[in-house]
Amino acid sequence: MKIAVCLKRVPDTTAKIVIGATRTAIDETGVKFVPNPYDEFALEAAIALKEQAGAGETTVVAVGTDASQETLRTALAMGIDRAVLLQSAGSADGLVVARALAAELKAGAYDLILFGKLAVDDYNHQVGVMVAELLGLPCITAAAKLTVSGSAVEAEREIEGGVEMMACALPAVVTCDKGLNNPRLPSLKGIMAAKKKPLDVKPVTLDGASFEITSLELPAERQAGRIVGEGADAVPALLALLRNEAKVL
C-alpha cells in the first residue's frame, strides 16, 4: 500500500501569538513550531497501516519554506519512509496550496492520502477535501475511526448530536480528527535513521489566489463583570440580571 500524508508546520498551540509589523501575518520571532497536531494523527495512521499490511511505502509532503524541513524530519523519525518539500512561502488561500499538493500527489499512484482535519494556525479546514476534489478521489473528512480492509474504507466522524458512518473505496483521501489514534513519539533510533532518509526539495510557485488577508487584529478583551453574590441566595438576583440586563432569558 502506498500512503501519502500532507503535513503543515504550525506554531505550537501554547505559543504566544503576536501580530507582526505588516499586520497581515504573525511575528514568528521566538515562536516554537511543531507538526500540526491533527497531521500527527495522519502520520500515525499511515505508519500503522503500512505495518499492518507488512509492505508498502509512506511519503510525507509539505508546502512551506526551508524551515519545514525540520518538521518533515520529525515525520521521518516517527517512521515515514520519504519526504517531499514543495518549497514556497505558502498561501492564505487553501485552494492554491491544494493545487500544489495535488500536482505532486497525482503522479504518485497513492492508495490513500491522509490529511489533518484542520491546521491549527489558519483554521482553514479545507485543504484535504480540495485535494480530493482536484484529483477526483473520494474523501471522508474528520475521521475519528478508520478501517481499511482490502480496498474498502470505513470511517466514523463526529457530527452534531451523533456519529456519522462513512464508506468509500481506495484510492481515497481521509482527513483525520482527534481520537483516531495516539501518535508515537520519534525514538532515538528513528531520529538517527531519519537523517539518512530521502527528502526531496522541489520549488513551486503558488499563484491564482482569490483569498487575501487584509489585516489581523486581536479580539476585544472581555471585561470582568461583577460578582452577584455568594451561595444559593444569590440565584434570584442572577436570574433577574440575566432576564432584565443581559436579556438572555
Partner: protein, 321 residues
Amino acid sequence: MRVLAVLEQRDGALRKVSHEVLAASRQLADQSAGTVDAIVFGAGAVAGMDQLGGFGADRVLHGTHADFALYCPDGASTTIASIGSEYGAIILAATAMGRDLAPRVAARLGVACATDVTALGVEGGSVTVTRPIYAGRILQHGKLTGTTAVVSVRPNTFHPVESGKAGSIAALAVPSFTPRVASKGVKKPDAAMLDVTEASVVISGGRGLKEPANFKLLEDLAAAFGNAAVGASRAVVDAGWRDHGEQVGQTGKTVSPQLYIAVGISGAIQHLAGMRTARTIVAINRDKDAPIFKVADYGIVGDLFEILPRLTEEVRKIRSS
C-alpha cells in the same frame, strides 16, 4: 449580489442552523441589493421548507434524490457546483456537513473558501470576512476576490430574522453524479441532546463537579432551560467523565451561545479560547479568585452543590410561567 444559501436537514426536518445561514445570506444580499436563493436537499419534502420565505429566502430550490435522505457529499457538491457560478456568494454553515461540503464546492468552482466566518460584508463587489484563527486568539480580516465567494458561517453567530415575507419553492434539477463516498447512517448516542456548538445555552462542568455522576446536576439545569447543551472542561474529558464531543476550548469546540454557564471550571486560558465569544458568561465557583471570574459577566461565589439545585428550580419556575 445573488446569494445562494445552502441549508441543512436531518431526518427530513430543517436544522436550526439553516435559519442562521439564511440570516447571513440575507445580510449579504441586502448590502448589495441582491436576492437570496436557498437550496434544500432531501429524499422528498423537508419540514419547514415552506416557511423559509419568512426567514429571508426569496426562492427555495428543492433538490430531490433517493441518496439525499442522508448527507451525500458528491451529490450535493455536484448540484451546487452546477449552478454555483451564477452566484456572487454561496453561504453554508460551519458544521460537520458544511465543513465537508464548502471546500468541495469551492474546488469545483475553482475559487477560494473562507471557513468559520463570524462577520460578513461587501466591499467594491468583493465579499469581506472576519474569521477567528489560532484558536480564537487572532481575528483575521480577509477578502474573497473570485467570481463566487464560498463561505461557511460559524453556528450561533448570525441570528435568524423573521420577516413574514413569502417565498416560492422551485424544483431544482439534480445533475447525474458518481457517489464516490456514502454515508451509511448516523449513530445517535442521545438524540435529544443538543450539540454544544449549536445550543443557545451551554452549561459546562469542570473538575469542581467532583465525580461523573454529579453531571446530572448540569443535565437537570439544561433540561430546565430547554434549549441547552452540557459542555465540559478538558480536565473532566481527559479523566473519562465526559465525551470529547462536549469539550470546550482550544483542543475542543468553540462555542458562541447566548448564555454560557461555567460550573466548577477554573477558567484556564485554553478553556477561555473556546467560549470567550459567548454573548453572556456566568461563572459559579467557590474560589473568588478563579480566573473564570475575569471573563464572566456575572458570577456567584460558592459551593456549586448548593447553588445548582436552587438555580434549576428557579429556571424551571420561570420557564413554566
